[in-house]
Every structure is written in C-alpha cells, then in structure tokens.
Amino acid sequence: MNDLSLPSSPGIRQGDASLNPKSQPEPASVISVRGLQLRYGDLVALRDVNLEIPSSQVTAVVGPSGCGKSSFLSCLNRLTDLIPSCRAEGRIRFDDVPDLLHPKVDLLELRRRVGMVFQKPNPFPLSIRRNFELPLREHGVPKDEIPGRMESTLREVGLWKEVADRLNSGAQLLSGGQQQRLCIARALALKPDVILFDEPCSALDPMSSGIVEEHIAALKDRVTVVIVTHNLAQAHRIADRLAVFWVRDGAGTLIEDGPARRVFESPRDPDAALYLRGAKG
C-alpha cells in the first residue's frame, strides 16, 4: 500500500476540482439526451429528460424507486427494444451517432460501444473463457487476440490472479462479486466508449460491493461511466456528476443534474434537496 492510494476515492478528488465549477471548462459530452420520453404501452415512464453525459467521468443517476432510472439507462443502449410495448421518443446523440433512437441505427455496434452491467451478475452458464469468446468472436475479434484481451481486462478488474488457473471451469462457480467483476471485464473486452451500470452492487455482500465499486471508479480513465444507484453514499464516493430523477405528474423525470459536489451541497430543486439529505424518497 502506498500512501497516495489510501484515500482511494477518485470521486472526492474530482469533487474537489469541481468545487469551483466556473474555472473548469465543461467537458465534452459523449451522450446528449434531448426531450426523451419513454412509454410502456399507455403508461408514461419518463417525460422530457434532458441530460448531458460528459466523457471520461462517472455520472451517477439517483432517485427513489420507480422514478425511471433503470428505464433511462436502457434507452442509452436501446435495450428498451426488447420490451414489446416499450417506445422511446426524443433524441439521444451519442458521439458521432446523431440519434441513437433512430430505427436504422446498427444496434449490435451501438451495444458494443455502449456496454451494460446489470444488477444481478449475469455471466453465461459457460466457462469463463467462453464468456469472452462468444461476444468477442461475434464482433469479429480474431481468435489469437482473444486470450490477450481476456487477460488484460480480467487484470483490470483484479480478477486475473483469482481465475487464471480455472479459465475453463464454469463462470457460475465464482462468487457473486467475482461474477460481477467478470461481467465488467467482459463488457470492457469489447472496448466500449461507455459502460452503463444498473445498480451493480446492490445484489452483492458489502465486501464484494466495495471491491466492485473501487473498480468502477477506476474505469473512468478509459470509459465513460453511467451508474444507476440506490446508494447515496456510493454516489458520493464515486460520482463526478449527479443526475437526480423524481416522479412528477405520474412519470419519472430529471429534476436536477450537475457536478456531484455542487448538487450534493447545494441542490436547487427542493425535492432533490430533501432526497439527498435523506429526508424524502
């Protein structure tokens, strides 16, 4: 352990920098959401969401249950397409894709570039190696490149030493925390620009949760992270930006967003203020 890594909370450091937001140039946003509306049949789940997601930062999406946080996340990689009655309207620019909601968007490539890690770890019921081979082969990565990518991403999530001698055994034999790190490594192996995390720690024990959280925080050097979390303390620790969702008029919507430190310390929206203080929601 060296002393520099002791307060291992990159969020705080970033927060310090954002204490003085005016001196910081706004980072370029990799995703920009305009007037997003999401419906399940007649039910409006999200209304008029506008959000800029800057690149190479951790954006935490928080809010009470049922305010559409996870639905919002699924719009960003069009996983909403898998739900029969679900319709997303509005505009979401992603990097050079002018509108990722457009029906002609190449979904396979979009989902390679915008990875996702779910609440419950979901390794395929195959060997650890096959968990990497399947998606990587699918995206045309040459066979001889796969072991290298697998090793480097497994190292990145601190799993390599634990699994190096059992790559051919079942991924489901791993503990919950290891499975979740495997899923993060599997998403990373596709070299995405963004990874969406949908409450990635809430199905894990506190110990594993802490380890997974550290690795997520460390990812922002190479990918943009959007994380939905119920855990305000976690958001506090790792987020550079905070987006607070709330239910207004029966539909989820974004009520406040900005640099995490600023939103935590001086929220402008009264509901957001009560929620972040733990008094509501």
Binding site: L82, L108, L110, R111, G115, F124, L126, L134, E138, A171
Partner: protein, 288 residues
C-alpha cells in the same frame, strides 16, 4: 395443552396418508411387473436370435421379425427427421420471435394444442388421404413416418417451448447488451438451455410413435417383407403385434415376444437419449 385424543387422531391420519401413498406407488409397480411377467411368460420361449433376424413366416406364427424391426426403425427415422427440426423451429419462432400476446402466435399455440388432442385414427385417415393419395406416396414407410411426424409435432413443440421459457431472461438481455445477434444467442445460449426439454420431447415422441398402430395401418401398411427403400410398404411392430393378437389364430405367443422386444427397444432408446443429453450438456454447458 393440546387435547391428547386429537393428537392421536392427527397421527392416525398421518399414518393413513402415508400408507395410501405407499399403496399407490406399489400398485403402479405391481401393474408394470404383472405386464412384464405376462409378456415374458408367454413370449420368452419364443425369443431367440433367429426370432430377431428371421423373416416373417406363416402370417407371423413362425419365423422372426427382422423386417418388422427394420420397418419400425425406418418409420421412426423419417418421423424424427421431419418432426424434430420442424418442432424445434416452430417453438423457437413462437418463443423468441413472437410476442406471447400476439394474435398469430396465439392462433398457432391453439392449433398446436388442438393437434395434440386429435385421436391417432384421425391422423391415420388424414395421412392416407394427404400423403398416400394427394402426394402420391402410396402405402409407404415415408407416408407412415410423415403421419407420425404430424402426430408427435405438438409434443416436441410443447416441450421445447417449456425448455426455452425456462431459460432465464438474463441470458437474452445479457447477450443483447453485449451486441450479440439473436441467432447467436439462440445457438450458443438458449437452445442449449432448452436441450433437456427437447430431449424429453423427443423421447416422449419416440415412445408415442413406436406405440402407434392406428395411424400406421392406413399409411405405411402391413407388408411383412423386408423393405428395400423408404417408398416400400412396411409393417411397424405395434401393427405386427395388433395383427398377431387380433387376426392370426395361434399368434399370441409371437405377439407377446414382439411386445417384449418393443419394450426392450423403447427402454434402450430412452436410456441412450438421457445418457447422450447428459453427456452433451456436461460438455457444452458448464454449470457445476
């Protein structure tokens, strides 16, 4: 304090229930053993190597049943070659490509269920008209196999559907989120997850097909000579047993012997199928 007599009463009820369950289980085993005893006591003396390899003589009273066994296996082969891909394909389409509440999917599921409840004699008549006459296949192993395929299709569709539905949705979401095609998710994740279900369907289908008489008399016919091609008429084992038992005086012993063989073949197929599926599953899907 609980009333002691009440306590005794509940204990008696408990014991009675246990005894009833034991009795039912024993009754099932007894029926099976009796059946087996009946078959073997009548047929065992007629079972021999030459019975397995010989041709049918004297309308089945003498000789062996080699052509019957071959015809049965050929009919089964045609039946499975058609029913398995069609059934698995249809179930996959229903489960993965259609909304469960869709009108077309609903209509097809209803049709499948209806098909499952159609008596086999109706399949026989349909097969005779459609395969033998309209498609001009005549009394043939092909016509019989196709008729049986129609009959076991609903079983295979149903069990494959159950298998696919039991595959966790996380597999679909996970694969989609990694930018995998639906085809590849099906091939590598969902169909393998459904394999135990498919195997159950195929074994049930085989059992139903091998036991079938009514659907085959009018379609594959009852010629007892050795079939030389799929367009030959061929007598299935159950048809042979039926014929010996009903139409041939003095054929009862050979009927029992044939039935014993049929039972042995069915047991062997069931056993092999479950072994194969276990081995395949252990190799393709690591779960333990």
């Amino acid at each position: 304090m609980p009333d002691p007599s009440r306590h005794r009463r509940t204990r008696t009820a408990d014991r009675l229930l246990g005894a009833l369950c034991w009795a039912s289980a024993l009754a099932v085993v007894a029926v099976f053993l009796w059946l087996l005893w009946d078959l073997l006591s009548q047929g065992l003396s007629h079972l021999s190597w030459s019975f397995l390899t010989g041709t049918v003589e004297d309308a089945g009273r003498g000789g062996g049943i080699a052509p019957v066994i071959l015809s049965t296996l050929l009919i089964l082969l045609v039946c499975l070659a058609v029913a398995v891909p069609l059934g698995v394909g249809c179930a996959t389409w229903l489960s993965e490509y259609q909304r469960p509440d869709g009108a077309l999917a609903g209509a097809i599921t209803k049709a499948v269920d209806l098909l499952a409840s159609v008596p086999s004699i109706v399949f026989g008549l349909f097969g005779m008209v459609f395969f033998c006459q309209v498609l001009d296949l005549g009394f043939s192993i092909t016509a019989g196999g196709l008729t049986l395929a129609c009959m076991i299709l609903p079983i295979i569709i149903r069990t494959t559907l159950t298998g696919l539905h039991s595959a966790p949705n996380e597999l679909r979401l996970g694969a989609a989120a990694l930018g995998m095609t639906r085809h590849s998710a099906l091939r590598h994740l969902l169909i393998p997850a459904a394999v135990p279900g498919i195997v159950v369907g195929v074994t049930l289908g085989i059992s139903r097909a091998m036991a079938e008489t009514a659907a085959l008399i009018f379609t594959s016919g009852y010629a007892t000579r050795m079939p030389s091609s799929l367009s030959d008429s061929g007598r299935a084992m159950s048809v042979h047993i039926y014929d010996l038992a009903m139409n041939v005086p003095g054929g009862a012993a050979n009927a029992a012997a044939s039935a014993a063989i049929l039972l042995a073949v069915l047991t062997a197929i069931n056993f092999t199928a479950s072994k194969l599926s276990d081995r395949w599953h252990a190799k393709a899907v690591v779960t333990r």
